[in-house]
Amino acid sequence: MKLKKVVSLLVASTMIMATLAGCGSSAGGAAPAASDSAASTDSSAASDTAAADTSTDAASGDTMEIEVYDAAANYQGLQTGWFDKVVKDRFNIDLNIIAPQVAGDAIYQTRTSAGNLGDIVLLDSVDFADCVKAGLIKDITADLPNYPNLNGYMDQIKVYNSGLEGNNGEIYGIPTQMMNTSPIEYSQDVIYSSPLLRWDLYKEIGAPDIKDLDGLVDVLGQIQAAHPTNDAGDPAYAVSLWPDWDGNDNMMGIANVVQLTTWYGEKIKDSAILKADGKTFVPLTDKTASYYKMLKFLNKLYKAGLVDPDSGTQDWNAACAKMSSGQVYMFWYSWQVGFWNSQERLDNGTAMIFVPVADQNYYADADAYYGSGRVFGVGSGVDDAKYQKIMEFLDWYASPEGLEFQHAGIKDFNYTVGADGKFTAINDNALMDNLPVPEEYGGAGYNDGNNQINEWIVSANAINPNTGETYAKDYWASWKESTKTQMKQEWADKFGAAEPAEWMKKNNKLVISPNVAVTLISDTADISVIRNQCEETLEDYSWQMIFADSDAAFDSMWDEMTATMDGNGYQDLYAFDCEKWQPQIDAKNALLK
């Protein structure tokens, strides 16, 4: 009796606690996602076991679990939902995704030192080369030719593998996002990073020409002044940043700032900045280079009250929730529009679109003919049965059918097939609104069940042999037709080009960096310590600088930062990085000649 009482008391208090946490989230539109993810480290373990239980029950215990060590994933745990169903129906496997972006890089170190990274491995090419050297990756030379879809990319695969140190024709890795065009062309309509504004709001303030970054601050200021909240009444800001991605993708610094440097044709290569000429390096800590410039720009936005105050502490999920509820007025990643632009919004002119800033010229990586830099491989520890399954799966993953699922979605849910065999997109808000998928695919939310591997062997812009069009809907004739909205027309009339990339090419504002396959040297123990200490210093100070109250404070922090970084050995690091990236730069320039 007494025990029961104690237990019920405990349960009651726990629930009070839970409600308390819930209270906060209902007060702010962004909080629910944030609290979810903050708790996810804990709860994912619980949900994993739950998911594992049900799957073994359902699939009569035969299902093979494949561990995918995935440097691209934003999700950790078993793949669920419709994509899981698609994969399980074909191969009877479960994908258990291990995501260093969720679990922290430590997982790379612990797993490599244990000698087994995963069954399928997806890594950045430098790490991949290290792992091949350490014997963690299986040699797939003998079996690869038996898989027709992968075999179709043999040329590019060979070029990548021949770049591995001491390689004599063995094949270990399969590059990602390969294409079949040319390594010096840019064939997309939009580039990865450029200023994107809400067209209706931009028009509302008179669609002024934007001269430079100050002009952009001004425009954003006017937009936010006119609309301090979104339609639901939640506070809206010109920009909302998130710290989770800092230091990723071989670029030191705050991920958001790092991306903005491409607006001036510059590209960060670790601790160095490659200038727009594609030949010269300057240190990241150079005050005349673009990292300082873009940081200052964000600080200006902050001082004008245009930066979301939660930027430094919120996570990616919270930031996404704000994007899809219209609480952010400027995007700069091309994928961000997926959280906002729907057919309806394109029709009524409230969608996001590129608005040029006169003094900018934009950096873009050319078509990823040789791949985007990440590499798929098979773990050396797999047994034969598993190996067979993995190769079958990877082959399917590179097949037209697999790619249709990855890039276009589910037939008759995301698109319909016309009499001519070409696709027409439907339900294009499926990702944004997490629409329930058809019952035969399990009925859960589309976004929840989306492919969590988040990396593709073949690019979305490659041509689908079944349709003669790209896999991604953006270049389908039907999509182009339907997106020829009034808004697009107005945009074209104002800027004199049909698409952003076309405008950039026409006005000579596009710096295209050729795609090459060069394997870079990996860090020594000294350099990796220096790199990480410098990176931590750079990130911490950068965030503080964005939120600095005056120019003087900003500059004194910058000086303090460079002094600290130099003390931690930044100059050695810069010298190392220049040497590290030089072969790639040489290869790029050789292609351009």
């Binding site: 209270c23 702010g28 105050p309 310590v529 990480n532 503080q544 600290t564």
Partner: protein, 302 residues
């Protein structure tokens, strides 16, 4: 003689399991210290890495910036530990006052509610903190509605009073749990003493001051010394979840620093070297405390 020897062996067998345990869990891990003397970098194995001697120990202090960084980390460690030491009487007083609540159900309720946070993981504590204190959280919304502020206050993002705030969180989480020991000690006080004091005309305050507190003071000292021995290891989960770019300078304690360096950045060798340094400082600290204790109380505690 032979019998005595046999008994010796038998008794040795009695303690053998414990010796093995100590060897495995306390001494075997020291073998890992060898990482500090190599340029270790996964995925290579240690035997493939170069032996570098004391390079990493030297690296820690070979210029001003690094010395300053290490000093700040030590300062944070001592600051946060010192603060909790300074307020270590808090759970005791809490227990004393809790004991004075005469309404039993209410007393049990308070005790349960204050003990409960101890069982919540720091990750969840942070998610609660984020919900309550973010720019659109309860606190900011209430303050704004009341017209006290017009811009949301970024509680989690400020670099002010970090040590104190961390102490508050720790107390919120631990006070009830820490009080349990004192409550047990209080129940052990002889009722007759209190009755006698009452007969002599002592009021409630006087009973507390002259009976309760002196009776539980030995417990307090034992716990205090246990804490002192752990002075350098103030844990890292709490600081790990609360750290961000804005407060890192004041929140990074030794354990977190080692973690950030090793796990976050792959500087295993350097992190191991700092770990060794920590152990050495801890031993020195313990010896000093023991001396102090001998000098002041007449007896050491080791």
């Amino acid at each position: 003689m032979n019998k005595k020897k046999l008994r010796g062996y038998r008794e040795f067998l009695y303690v053998l399991p414990f010796i093995i345990l100590v060897l495995i869990f306390a001494y075997y891990p020291l073998y890992g210290w060898r990482y500090a003397f190599y340029d270790y970098k996964p995925p290579k194995t240690l035997s493939e890495c170069a032996f570098t001697g004391l390079k990493w120990f030297h690296y820690m202090i070979d210029n001003d910036t690094k010395r300053k960084q290490l000093f700040q980390v030590l300062l944070n460690t001592f600051g946060i530990s010192g603060l909790s030491m300074l307020f270590s009487w808090f759970p005791m007083m809490f227990a004393v006052f809790l004991n004075e609540i005469k309404c039993k159900p209410y007393q049990k309720f308070v005790q349960t509610v204050t003990t409960l946070p101890n069982f919540i993981s720091w990750v969840l504590v942070y998610s609660i903190a984020f919900c309550v204190f973010n720019s659109t959280g309860v606190v900011n919304t209430l303050l704004q509605d009341a017209g006290l502020i017009d811009k949301p206050v970024m509680f989690l993002q400020s670099s002010e009073h970090v040590w104190f705030k961390m102490w508050l969180w720790l107390t919120w989480k631990n006070a009830g749990w820490a009080a349990i020991m004192y409550i047990a000690a209080i129940t052990g006080i002889d009722e007759e003493l209190i009755d006698a004091a009452k007969v002599d005309g002592a009021n409630r305050w006087k009973t507390i001051w002259h009976i309760t507190i002196p009776s539980i003071l030995p417990t307090y000292f034992v716990l205090l010394f246990l804490n002192l021995a752990n002075f350098l290891s103030n844990g890292m989960e709490q600081f790990f979840v609360f750290q961000n770019s804005f407060n890192k300078n004041y929140i990074q304690v030794l354990d977190l620093y080692v973690y950030n360096l090793a796990m976050g950045s792959g500087g295993y060798s350097l992190a191991t070297a700092i770990g060794i340094l920590k152990s050495v400082v801890s031993i020195v600290l313990l010896c000093v405390l023991n001396k102090v204790s001998k000098a002041t109380r007449g007896e050491g505690f080791i």
